[in-house]
Every structure is written in C-alpha cells, then in structure tokens.
Symmetry: C2
Subunit: 284 residues, 2 copies
C-alpha cells in the first residue's frame, strides 16, 4: 500500500471536494484537520468522522502543525487566503489545491509564498451537480483523472508527493501537464461543454417538453445544473482560452448550419463521419 509523507494534513475549505478529500484521507489513517468559515460544516465533518479537528476560524496552532495543506477554496478566495495567512504555514510544508484553472493561480501563489513552503498545484477532475460537505463522497474519484501542474519552481519531490496524493485518493489516472496546457484542455473539455449545456437549457422554454425528453437531451444538459458562483469565477479566470474555444465551436456550428441551409447533404455526411470516427476514439 502506498503512503504519503506529510501525515498531518490540513484542509482549508470543506466543500464537496475538500470534504471528499477529508473522507478519503481520514479513512486511510492520516490525521486530518480542517478550517472552514462555516461552523455547521465543521460540526457536520466532526460528527461524521471526516476530520479529527476542525475550526471555523483561522486557528494558528492548527496551521502551524500541518505538514501539508490542501486548499478546497474557490480560486480567488484561495489567493486571498495565501496572501493573508501564508506566514503561518510551517517550514517544509507542502501545499496543493483543487482549483479548476491553473495559470492565473499557480504563478501568483508561488510568488507570494515564503521560502520553505512549496505549492504544487493539482486538479482533481471529479465533481457532482450538488455541493457542500454533506454531499462529499470520495467514490467520485474512482474513474476520474488527477492532473498535477508543476512549474519550474517545483521540486521533483513535491511533484512525486502530489502524484502519490492523487493515487491514494483513488484516482484512476494521474497526469502531469503545464498550467497552460491544463487550462487549454479544461477550457475545451469542461468549460466549453458547460457553456453549451447552459445555452441549450436557457435558449428555449422547454418545461412542456419534459414528457418527450429522451437520452440525448438529458445527456447534453446533465451539467446544466451548475454552481453559478464557482463556474462563473472559473470562466472569467480562464476567459481568453474559453472565448477562443467558444468561438471555434460557434464557427463549426455555423458551418454545419449553413450546410443544412444549402441542402449540402454530402457536407453534412462528411461532418458526421468525422464526428463518428473521432468519438469512437473516446470509447476505447
């Protein structure tokens, strides 16, 4: 069984992800502490045995004792927290995060940190359409990807530690990408798909159609149940990449629209053949 060093782990921000991390780590035998500004969240986590200790305020003693700190905060809040409280983190500690965008976070946080504390960024590509510690569930990691996004400031030891973290949490696949490549990939695979799902759901008053809805529409709109605070922040922080992906998609959609308008059946068929061929690759 794999084991990671840094066995006193502090999780800051006990939402769906932070709570799921806590769940997995506590069960594996690590000493799990948590800070979350909501006392009810802490009470829930203590009661349900997700954590060993928890505070609804910035408890200095708790921070000073942590060998590793995992941030389950939204990107902007994460940066603010680092700016205000990073001096409390002990020398030699490693920190990581769960945020869904990287370029606009990783370099800034690394710049702010005092020497002796290393930030190795990562993105657990897992989630649910619900949120909060009450919905946390580490089974969501099982078929999911865990991406580590080091910069040249990171040590090989920290990268290895973070990859091990992904493995012990139960992720199916651990990858390493630059922050920029990560953001490009996530802009296309995740953010663009959420924009499409929301547009499809909002473009038409569709409630009267619920009776006729088959799998296609359900599949395309599952992620249209969306946490507006988190996703609007992620979209804006990856704005340039996402706009580019949205424009690419809109251009292609227009091409297909015009083929239909012009009765270009051969054109439509060739698009469908390409689509079928590419999609088959994802079923392997």
């Amino acid at each position: 069984m794999e084991w990671i060093s840094k066995s006193n782990i502090l999780i800051v921000g006990l939402g769906l992800m932070g709570g799921s991390y806590a769940h997995a780590l506590k069960r594996l035998g690590y000493h799990v502490m948590a800070i979350d500004n909501n006392q009810e969240t802490i009470d829930y986590a203590l009661k349900n045995n997700l954590i060993d200790r928890g505070y609804s305020y910035v408890n200095e003693d708790c921070i000073k004792n942590a060998d590793a700190v995992i941030f389950g905060l939204y990107p902007t809040t994460f940066k603010e927290w680092i700016k205000e409280h990073q001096h409390l983190i002990k020398d030699g500690a490693l920190i990581t995060d769960v945020t869904g965008i990287k370029s606009c976070i990783v370099y800034d946080v690394q710049k702010m940190l005092k020497p002796g504390v290393e930030f190795i960024a990562s993105h657990p590509m897992a989630g649910r359409e619900v949120y909060g510690v009450q919905n946390s569930d580490d089974r969501i990691f099982r078929d999911a990807n865990f991406i580590v996004t080091p910069t040249e400031k990171n040590t090989p030891e920290a990268v290895d530690w973070c990859k091990s973290l992904g493995r012990i949490l139960g992720f199916r696949k651990i990858s390493v990408l630059s922050p920029e490549k990560h953001d490009e990939m996530i802009g296309f695979l995740s953010q663009l798909t959420h924009c499409i799902a929301v547009s499809l759901m909002t473009c038409n008053e569709s409630e009267h159609l619920a009776d006729y809805t088959g799998d296609s529409f359900r599949d395309l709109t599952r992620i249209a149940r969306i946490n507006e605070n988190m996703w609007s922040e992620l979209f804006v922080l990856n704005k340039e990449v996402l706009l580019e992906q949205m424009d690419k998609f809109a251009d292609e959609f227009k091409v297909i629209r015009d083929m239909l308008s012009n009765n270009d059946i051969e054109g439509l068929k060739s698009k469908m053949r390409l689509s079928t061929k590419r999609r088959a690759y994802f079923d392997k």
Copy 2:
C-alpha cells in the same frame, strides 16, 4: 395482458428499429413477416427467430396477407415504397412507421394510399449508436417514449390501435401529438442536440485529449457517433424547424459568450441559475 388486433404483421425494413419491433412482436406471439432488400438481414432474422417469414424482394403474397404493415425504412424510401407498392396492401389493413419526422411524411403518404388502407404515423423515441438488425434489441423501448401523430384523416380506432402497439412493445409512455408539434419538439430535443454533439466533436482535433476526458465531454458527445445517412436525411426533411432551433441556440450561446467577454459575472450567474432551475425540472 393487452393484445392488439391485426395479428399478421409485416415489417418492411429490418434495421435496428424494424428488428427490435420484430423481436418484441414475435415473442408476444404475433405472426411476424418481413421484407428487407438484404438477404443476409432476412437470414439473420430467421435464424435468430425474430420473424416467421422473410423475403429480400417485394413478395406480393406476403403483403396481401398482412393485417398491419410497419415501415422501418428511412423517410424518403418509405414514401417511394408506398408510391410503388401500396396497391398490394389489403383492404382494412393499418400501416404505421418509425420515422423521426412527421409533417413531410404523414400527409403525403395518406394522400397516396388507396381507400381502405389507413396510415397512422408514430415515432418510437428510442435508438442506439449502432445499427442493423444484428444490433436490434427491444429493451431500448423500456424507458422510451412512443409518440402517435394522427391527422384529421385518422379514425379513433387506428389511433387506439397504434397506442396499443406502443404499449405492447414496452414503451414507458405513449403520447399523441400533431405532426407539426412533433417535428418542433424533435427539432429541439433530438436534432439540435445531435447538431451540437457533432459540432463539438468536429470543432477541435481532440484525440490527444482523450486521456483527460471526464464525464461532461463524454456525455455531450455520446450521440456524436451518428448514422450519417439517416440523420442527414432527417435534418433536411425538418430543415425549417431545425434551422430555427439552431439559430435560437446560437443566439443564446452568443449572449453567454458576450457576457463572458464583458466580464458580466452577474449576467453569467443569472443564466446559470435559470439553467439549473430548468434542468431540475427534468430530474423529477
């Protein structure tokens, strides 16, 4: 147990749908005959006990014996078949179909038919990403909707017969819609979603991203594996409706794109809240 009259049933076109109909009806004890221009298809269906009799040519005796004829052909082929061979269908027979568009089919076919033969159109809203009789499987009906689309030319008896057919095939819900309402609904729920999935799959060379693909992208592109002959025909035959739905979607997508471009976070959030609210309705 429900039973439908017209127990000598002829299926013309033994593809995925025709084959699945045959499978269900044969098991229920009906006498099932089939005509399909591919001899291998007929051989397969006979060998696997999907039909009692089958021909790879227009067998007059078989047609004259059918109390009911179910057409599993593509829309245009269906119309051509009716034009050429409808005189062979026996007086008092009912016919129905499986085509995914209705307005451009139903009135024309009803006009072509000789008196004494009634066409009551229907659309089994079920399918798979694979096709052919070898993939037929009547379990696909189980959670699906069956839509009957009568016109003023239809008798209440034929409508009832067709609803019963949907029920004995195992569909979850049987509905009645006008051909026009059907096409509008299908343009939005099914055709538009396929256009989106194809565009998403073709707008970007994405194979190198397969390793990072999570559920969102997989969900939105499942239907991007698409039968290009059938779907290009369905799109063109419902062109006006589909273009309108595509334009509505594209406009909405543009609105969301511009909100992002203008850092209109409140606008984005309100779209996401509407999207979440509407999607919840589909989970009921």
